[in-house]
Symmetry: C2
Subunit: 210 residues, 2 copies
DNA sequence: CCGAAAATCAATCAATCGATTGATACACGA
DNA sequence: TCGTGTATCAATCGATTGATTGATTTTCGG
């Protein structure tokens, strides 16, 4: 079916192992073994380990671009109530994607590892294609919901605060689960996190029903 | 002066390099070189690379234990206004520590790397000595400020949301700085982040002056 | 000044790393 | 039945990894 099954298997395996212990910790042999192919396939398809890293970044960017569709009601200026509704829906989507979507955990872990690396060769790619446009869109919505200017420092930091919470629930999953007495992130746990984050969102925006 | 200068230099260098690219990415040779000593000093002082890892975790735990002193006004049940004041002070302290304190950046990066690692050998140590007691204290304060029971699921998640924001501003520093147009985290930037986080705290707690 | 313990050194070990090689299997048009 | 390009394979390369060794230097009580 797929035109490049080995290529995709390699990306998937690499994304998982890169996300686990970092880029350097993952060996090409282990990646190839998990993908069910030979080591030299990496060089053949991607030119090397670094090429595989870039391919992972592109795969994430493409996937997110598909999931995070053009937000309805962003082209025109939505009224505050509508903006708040869209923000709530987005928070639901983000948390669901990060917590419960199968395979997304690996992608999130991979991205976070790259973001934390001071001189990651794919950081630029991830920022321009993944971080900035989404952050801008969220700022626009936040602006519409609160009336503050979209590119104000306060708004940008507020949006970072919001997504930072979701990111933390993923990156610190072992700790959160242990403290909460959870054995994993499943539907019930995702619901609890979503509820808390929606509460935070409403209160941070203010003015509404809290 | 110091009874173990080489030991301390090794821990400091290791913490930095472990935090940069992860545990496996850091080579013992590079660590020893940065510490200005020989490779075999690692084996002599810590038994090996893993021992150095544990020593780093202990060093962080001890340092945080010193910085995060017993919170004043926690033994008795503070009234809501006092609790909110203590929470605000703690948020200031956390952000300052994470953003601006020299050397703390390495420690934070190291801890986060360990927390993200699924099967880190020092995760247990870090959790029991570092995460849990602080989280419990924050939950108690949150409870006193809001009236909710301290060990309620909602309270625990709220505290995680709060610290998650601060953690994110550190772990995603390259992204945040780029989006904000900042060249680094200095006093002015830390102040902006602190202000936003205090606003978030006030609104999340609710009931107060916002 | 001496001798033992503490600490550091250069040198080397087997193991593993990413990359490369030449051979091989397969599909497809001439 | 060729010839060609794609894709994977086992085998091997030099380099680097963490660990270890034995010698050397430093420290300090007697």
């Amino acid at each position: 079916m797929d035109p490049h099954p080995t290529r995709i298997a390699l990306i998937q395996a690499a994304m998982q192992q890169f996300g686990r212990g970092g880029f350097e910790a993952a060996s090409t042999r282990a990646i190839a073994a998990q993908a069910g192919t030979n080591i030299s396939s990496i060089a053949y398809h991607f030119g090397g380990k670094d090429g595989l890293r870039i391919a992972c970044a592109d795969a994430v960017a493409e996937r997110v671009a598909q999931v995070a569709r053009p937000l309805p009601g962003l082209q025109d200026r939505p009224d505050p109530r509508h903006a708040r509704l869209l923000l709530r829906r987005l928070v639901r989507r983000i948390v669901t994607f990060m917590i419960v979507t199968p395979g997304a955990s690996d992608a999130v872990a991979f991205v976070l590892r790259e973001l934390a690396e001071p001189d990651s060769p794919v950081l630029d790619r991830l920022y321009t294609t993944l971080v900035e446009p989404r952050h801008r869109a969220l700022c626009a919505l936040w602006s519409a919901a609160t009336g503050e200017p979209a590119e104000a420092e306060e708004v940008k930091l507020a949006v970072f605060s919001l997504v930072g919470q979701a990111v933390y629930f993923r990156v610190a999953a072992p700790i959160v689960q242990r403290r909460m007495g959870w054995r994993h992130y499943a539907r019930a746990e995702a619901r609890a996190i979503t509820r808390r984050m929606l509460t935070n969102l409403d209160r941070m925006i203010g003015g509404g029903d809290g």
